[in-house]
Amino acid sequence: MSLPVLPSNFGAENFKATAKFSAPVRRPIEPVGRYFLAHATRSLRGHTWSEYEK
């Protein structure tokens, strides 16, 4: 897999948003496992990603 070359007529802008992604669905997740506990802790204590990225 490789990425394509930018078409010559792309213009000067570096980013063009064209559409929104489909509406997400809210569902309960299962409260098990270490990834869940990390998620819960982050949400409850308002931690940022970087603290959990080690």
Partner: protein
């Protein structure tokens, strides 16, 4: 001081804990790891586990079985046939559901389902304390996904009465999957699983997506008429027919003979899961006649064909309920004692494409003891909870934490060949962050097109290669084979991002969705100190 996990089935229960080198299942003093969920009261004595079941032949009315699903349930919702062959489930004078047991001449004992649960859990606790040599500070118990609030409440109350403080109740399929996927950190791989649990009196299945290590149950199904007891009944009929043919005697004319047939059927089935033939030996089956015979695996499979053939349809139903196709399922995890049955596993494997992994002992020896997975997962969860306070655990279970956004379509990018490359699978929960590295032409500006993936199912008919021998042609039963594949193509274009003047062989693209649902796409050369090109995409 330690914590344990318990699986509590209608048929058997197991206890597990985290030992030095991983999760370990604890045997009771009789060496049972799948401990029959049974209690019996005979004269002054209480028996538990296999010792209790042993009384089913002589004192069936003193033996309590199949009571787990009755906890916290209203009487009219119960399937009373589950206790036909043992102490009958009835309404006690206190109004509770329970069992009236004649312990010795004229003396009777009323044991409610809740009391039986307390005693059962106490016995399990003693087995664990005996083995571990330490007190137990907390327990995680696994429950079916259809347990009601009242059932959960009653189970927790019984457990506390038994001296086991409940850290958390978790669902059986999630416990099993947690145990299974925690090996080699498979939880970190985004996969869609079917967890199918086949027990003594019920079948349960769940479709569970794992994304970024987070589990989401997409659908569940339950079938109370598909179970090990049905296989035992079919096998018992077969044995009785053989007995009748040989001795012209009905082996099903009295409860004691029926109990012996059941016992022999269970034993034969378990043997046939491991080896290709089993001997059947029943003393004084009927009219004082002993019965000796043998059965091979094929005979068993033919005898039980009508029951065995119903399992795939049940599994298929849960996939449909999740609005998925069998092609969407990466792995099927077979759980529960009955999953040891080779034909059951192979029937289910036939439903899925080659690419779907079927985790069952008969198909891959790596997957041993499907009946232990639930307890193992509960033990793992218990060990994870050890560093949290009761308050923190309660907080983590609030709806505001549990109800999480899941993206409804896959999001990815388009490669140089115009193909869709998945970055975030559908059902990915957020916040999430995923990166991948892709080759990119050096000395050029690079285009990253962010799209949603659209899928379709492609069916290719492969005609059988004609047999050269013309005489056989007429009788050729080779049918054209239909190969089904799921194809992803780029769908709605969300954004385009330019990465200017690339000087590296590789570009790293990162998709992250923050808690507010904003998708950030970042691209940079895989080289320290390079500038990142980025943009943000909102959702509908």
């Amino acid at each position: 001081m330690t914590v344990i996990g318990i699986s509590f089935g209608n048929t058997t229960s197991s206890i597990a804990h985290l030992a030095k080198d991983g999760i370990e299942v604890i045997a009771n003093p009789d060496g049972e790891r799948a401990i029959p969920s049974s209690l019996s009261y005979i004269a002054e004595d209480e028996y538990h586990g296999g010792q209790s079941l042993a009384h089913l032949v002589r004192n069936p009315n003193n033996v309590i079985i199949n009571f787990r699903d009755s906890i916290g349930q209203s009487f009219d919702k119960l399937d009373l046939t589950l206790t036909d062959r043992a102490a009958k489930t009835t309404q006690l004078e206190s109004g509770d559901i329970g069992f009236k047991i004649q312990t010795s001449e004229g003396e009777s004992k009323q044991i409610s389902v809740n009391e039986a649960t307390v005693r059962h859990l106490e016995n399990l606790k003693h087995a664990a304390v005996d083995y571990l040599g330490q007190q137990i500070t907390g327990v995680v118990i696994a429950i079916p996904t259809d347990f009601t609030a009242s059932q959960k409440e009653q189970l927790v109350a019984a457990s506390e009465k038994a001296g086991l403080q409940v850290l958390q109740l978790i669902s059986e399929p999630s416990a099993a999957l947690l145990a299974h996927a925690s090996i080699d950190d498979k939880l970190a791989e985004d996969k869609t699983y079917v967890v199918a649990d086949f027990g003594g009196v019920r079948s349960d299945a769940a479709v569970i997506s794992v994304r970024g290590g987070i589990l989401t149950v997409l659908a569940t199904a339950h079938d109370f008429s598909l179970n090990g007891d049905n296989l035992d009944a079919a096998l018992a009929d077969h044995i009785a027919a053989e007995f009748k043919k040989k001795y012209q005697t009905n082996a099903k004319s009295n409860p004691r003979s029926i109990a012996k047939l059941k016992e022999a059927s269970v034993l034969a089935r378990k043997t046939l899961s491991n080896v290709s033939s089993a001997t059947i030996s029943i003393e004084a089956l009927a009219d004082g006649i002993d019965f000796h015979s043998s059965i091979n695996r094929l005979r068993f499979e033919v005898t039980c064909r009508s029951v065995l053939s119903q399992f795939p349809a049940f599994v298929e139903s849960v996939v449909k309920k999740a609005n998925l196709d069998v092609l969407d399922i990466d792995e099927v995890l077979l759980v529960g004692g009955l999953s040891n049955t080779p034909k059951l596993a192979s029937n289910i494997a036939d439903l899925f494409p080659e690419s779907t992994v079927i985790a069952a002992p008969s198909l891959d020896t790596k997957f041993k003891n499907p009946e232990e997975l639930v307890a193992r997962g509960a033990a793992l969860q218990a060990s994870l909870l050890e560093s949290f306070s009761a308050e923190e655990i309660a907080e983590s279970l609030q709806p505001v934490i549990l109800n999480t956004q899941h993206i409804s379509k896959a999001i990815g990018l388009v490669d140089a060949a115009g193909q869709f490359v998945t970055v975030l699978k559908s059902e990915t929960t957020y916040p999430i962050k995923k990166s991948l590295k892709l080759a990119a032409p050096k000395g050029q500006d690079i285009l990253i097109t962010v799209v949603e993936g659209e899928h379709s199912i492609k069916e290719t008919v492969i005609e059988p290669t004609p047999v050269s021998d013309d005489e056989d042609d007429e009788y050729s039963d080779e049918e054209p084979e239909v190969v089904r594949e799921k194809i992803y193509v780029p769908g709605s274009k969300l954004a385009e991002l330019a990465l200017r003047d690339n000087q590296s062989e590789e570009v790293e693209v990162t998709f992250s969705i923050n808690k507010d649902g904003v998708l950030s796409v970042t691209a940079r050369e895989v080289k320290p100190g390079c500038v990142a090109f980025k943009g943000e995409i909102q959702h509908n």
